[in-house]
């Protein structure tokens, strides 16, 4: 066993090893297969409830298109066509913001440090979207996306070796297996909290400023008092409690 906690940094130094050994023999460990299973069931549930799958991959755009075409035009005759769209081109954050509706899913194929994808992932809860993040190398911070499907190999050429293709093919295959279990596709409804006083609760919802005193949240555009966090500009992320923005959640330098 290597004592190097990363283990694969030397793969970069010996450019011939990735294709033949690391990738071709790459198996799927228990954790990643469990992550794929969970992501597939959630995706099937959201599709059943009317979701659209929005796919982004700023550095390797064809991956976003490959995911979309899998779902829209299945290779197996008889599997149902599902709404999936690749979003490409400049100003990706604005494009996703405009496209996503509450209940939709955003799937990214990107490295953990890709700035547009980081921004989309942070904003997605304010848009009411569930997020899936496929990538390799250094992992995104815990909680960066609802489902993280990750290959830990740090070789920067991995995105061109078919490893990601395998992951999203499996995601498609497992999602369609879930459709064979309609009894398990009902949306998971959170416990009813109608009786709880919001002011006294720990409620804190993400909102994205759309204009003066107005923020977009998972449930729509709403009024929000910003006295505690002013000045704010459109695109700022706020934590909202009982109609009051209590703190800002912007990263330094984030849009």
């Amino acid at each position: 066993m290597s004592t190097d906690p990363i283990g694969s940094t030397d793969v970069v130094a010996t450019p011939t090893s990735v294709g033949t050994e690391a990738v071709s023999t790459m198996g799927l460990d228990q954790d990643l297969s469990a992550d794929l299973a969970a992501a597939s069931l959630v995706l099937a549930r959201l599709f059943s409830a009317g979701a659209t799958l929005w796919c982004i991959a700023p550095a390797w755009e064809p991956h976003a298109q490959h995911v979309a075409v899998e779902f829209v035009h299945p290779v197996i005759v008889g599997k149902k066509a599902l709404p999936a769209v690749a979003l490409t081109g400049p100003d990706l954050v604005a494009t996703v913001r405009m496209s996503v509706r509450p209940g939709d899913v955003v799937l990214a194929v990107a490295a953990a440090d890709q700035p547009d994808v980081r921004s989309v992932m942070r904003r997605a809860p304010a848009w009411g979207a569930t997020t899936l993040w496929i990538g390799s190398g250094e992992r995104p911070d815990a909680g960066s996306a609802d489902h993280v499907l990750w290959l830990d190999d740090r070789d920067p050429r991995l995105p061109a070796t078919g490893g990601f293709v395998l992951l999203y093919h499996l995601l498609w295959e497992l999602t369609h297996v879930c459709f064979e279990h309609p009894g398990l596709l009902a949306p998971v409804t959170p416990e009813c909290t109608d009786e709880v006083c919001i002011t006294c609760s720990d409620e804190g919802r993400l909102g994205e400023v759309v204009g003066p005193g107005r923020a977009r949240t998972a449930t729509g555009i709403e009024d929000v008092a910003t006295v505690l966090v002013d000045p704010v500009v459109p695109g700022d992320l706020l934590l909202i409690h009982a109609g009051l923005a209590i703190t800002r959640l912007d990263e330094p330098g984030a849009r």
């Binding site: 970069v12 011939t16 990738v23 799927l28 755009e61 298109q65 078919g162 395998l166």
Partner: protein, 207 residues
Amino acid sequence: MTGFLYPFLEAEERDQESLLRDLAASARAKAAESAALRASTLEANAGLVATAAAEMARRFAAGGRLFTFGNGGSSTDAATLAGLFAHPPIGAPLPAWSLTADQAILTALGNDVGFELVFARQLMARGDGKDIAIAMSTSGSSKDLTAAFREARKRGMYTVGFAGYDGGEFAASPDVDVCFVVRSQSVHRIQEAQALLGYQLWEGVQP
């Protein structure tokens, strides 16, 4: 604890746990199948990869350029391959383009001369005898791809086909210099192995 009140809830949860277990096991089995196919494909094609990479390197050195194309998911894999040559994470860029990148050209050709010629006409306009054409396909028999290879052959280009199943028309075509066949019946597993073969080709072209 609430089982005696809501027994159906526990039954549903048990069903969900068992589905998730089945899904995870299925994912591992498919991944193992994919890994085995990739390994056997690389082994079976090692000589062809070396031959094709050497000829491609010779052509790049002489000013040749690479055009890649395919349909559907294979078109995206072809675009990823062109991107690897053109914008490699490591190493020097080489001139490479995907012929599906421009929707104006694709739709103009598809509408005016027919979909079968969407790639052939682009090679007619852009390709010359120093260049390389790579088509990725699972059937190996798509009409737009075989038409493009016919045109590429006419122009003296080096032609590399990726196919699945038994190789389809690519395998027997005099228009195809090198044909990589991924011996599988699954479109997904074929594409995964082709991606790795394409990567190997790129790696073989590196100095």
